[in-house]
Assembly symmetry: C2
């Protein structure tokens, strides 16, 4: 018996044609050829995708569940993506809505519990901000990082636009910022972590991760849709002691539901935290999407971001719970000279939320 895993697509169509369309997707995402030209019975029964269910969701949309053969994926997460949605991404009537990720393709990261242990934060939510704007020289970025850290934030991450540019090369920037954050952290007693952003091909990613590790860093960021799933998996495997934060850059381009892409697939690559645009910010994800995404991602830490104002701390912690890191960038940076005080107010709001409303 062939092992299959179930993939759910949402397909625009009508009742008269949906069965044929579902069957066409099952073929496209497996053998990609006319079944009439296949003469080996085992391929027809074990390799060709199988339509398992079709449900009418109303409004001309159908949920189509297809069982794909695990054998077609092998062990490569890039090939998983290829089999989940490769050619079908080119059809604009289909969204990849969900998938049961095969266990053997799921890397496991300590996620939120591991971060709680490392930072000594047993219950409350985490706080974080981002180093911006790109274009600042390394010493200016380090100065900003120290001021964030002196406010007592848990995490300070590179803006995802920071790569290995001439104005702030990775090898110069990261050691300076790591030292600055360590100085700030010593002044507060908070175990603040700096999260550098890794970019480039796998050789460059490994070289950067080695530089960061040599600076004592144990949290790093990567953007799986830019980097490629296979190379992210190679990286998380090569640096098992690092908690990787997944950035959603390029996550919208392929019509994959974020509940799946960010909530399930990025953690399956071994990422222990997932950054995503929260409802109510500058992006359009709904509360329902955000809730499902965060739930799917567990135990990976949920990191809502994308235009969070300081006055939303209570609302967002009510919504997401405490296995969360709130990532507030622009709203703190607007405090300019008083960025340390704004950071402290943010850290304090998260701390007080735990105490006053939940007795911990």
């Amino acid at each position: 018996m062939t092992e299959r895993f179930t993939v759910t697509y949402h397909v625009r169509g009508d009742a008269a044609s949906i069965e044929a369309r579902a069957q066409a997707i099952a073929v496209e995402q497996s053998v990609e050829m006319p079944l009439a030209a296949i003469d080996e019975p085992a391929i027809l029964s074990e390799i060709v995708g199988k339509v398992e269910a079709i449900n009418d969701l109303g409004n001309g949309t159908f949920s189509v569940r297809i069982g794909l053969a695990l054998a077609t994926v092998g062990d490569d997460p890039g090939q998983l993506l290829n089999m989940l949605f490769g050619n079908t991404s080119l059809h604009d009537d289909v969204i990849l809505r969900d998938a049961v990720i095969p266990e053997r393709l799921r890397a496991h990261s300590g996620g939120a519990p591991e971060l709680r242990r490392r930072l000594g934060v047993p219950r409350r939510a985490f706080t974080g901000s981002a180093l911006k704007p790109q274009g600042l020289a390394p010493d200016r970025l380090a100065d900003l990082a120290e001021r964030f850290a002196r406010g007592g934030l848990d995490f300070i991450k590179d803006d995802h636009g920071l790569a290995d540019q001439a104005y702030s090369p990775f090898a110069t920037r990261v050691p300076l910022i790591a030292e600055a954050v360590a100085r700030g952290a010593r002044s507060t007693g908070v175990a603040t972590r700096y999260i550098p952003s890794l970019t480039g091909d796998l050789d460059q990613l490994r070289a950067q991760a080695t530089i960061a590790r040599n600076c004592g860093l144990d949290c790093m960021m990567v953007a799986p849709m830019v980097t490629g799933f296979s190379s992210v998996r190679a990286l998380t495997r090569a640096f098992p002691e690092v908690v990787f934060f997944a950035h959603p850059s390029m996550g919208g381009a392929a019509r994959i539901a974020p509940e799946l892409l960010i909530g399930r697939l990025f953690p399956a690559l071994g990422c222990g935290a997932v950054i995503f645009p929260t409802y109510g910010g500058r992006f359009g994800y709904s509360p329902a999407t955000c809730r499902e995404l965060a739930t799917n991602a567990r135990p990976a830490l949920a990191v809502p971001a994308g235009g969070i104002a300081l006055d939303r701390v209570s609302e967002l912690l009510d919504f997401y719970g405490s296995d969360t890191m709130l990532l507030i960038g622009g709203s703190l940076l607007l405090a300019r000279d008083r960025v340390t005080e704004a950071s402290a107010a943010f850290a304090d709001a998260v701390m007080r939320y735990g105490v006053s409303e939940h007795g911990c």
Copy 2:
């Protein structure tokens, strides 16, 4: 003076809000923070994206041209994608429509002229087919490949679903198929090329390319949206003698215009041929999209595919011209025992097209 390159987005909106929306995209794709919080004048003038033009296209769609600073990209094609569309991909009112790719980020491949030289085909279009279904054992795939080759096809490629699965591991499959194609080619005198599909992380890609090169192969396939732009560039740089065919898997045409993604970006990674779903097949690209894509891609070889029937050879060559490889898979495979004869009929149709209608 900062060097900028122009990126064109198509944005749904209304006349009252489009200027603010365009400015927000320019900020999102550069510094990603409130401009009021930036106190360095050089960043405001040299790093922040600049709205260059807004044109009303009608139907509630605007074309927005933004000049991005080349300095924000550096030399990494992954970072190029990040700056072109990273966060904005998460906004569903925007399509990335076009971009002028900075010269220093453009790798150059011999493309169609180089393939003409290698195969000794000075003028006519090329023919190709695909090895399917996945699930066949290596000796069965090799047998099919030989039968295609005996029909006189120019190229025989792996199905993009063929990776490194247990039923046909790369290291077993590729040498067998390469030998089979060479046998077939000796029987016809056509310089038939086998194009294996490379998958996995950069280490795996290089190992596979080395196996393929050791089999004497000089054409290989890769799917840049699965593999990641940076690793594809590392691969094309490491194997300069190989002509890489780009497969559109995960190309998600709805959000990045294929004219840009497949037509400009894939060749810029060093790919010398681009496979794309042609109009009139199983996918929905329009003739206008296909024409622009093929034109943009030059000198990379245009490879229309995706459900081409044998009787469309003349029509498609009229449309695409002869710097084209027609890729016909399923339609040949349906001939089953007579796949060699069907391949020969295909090769002959392309040959005769050149002679009878164009006198060459």
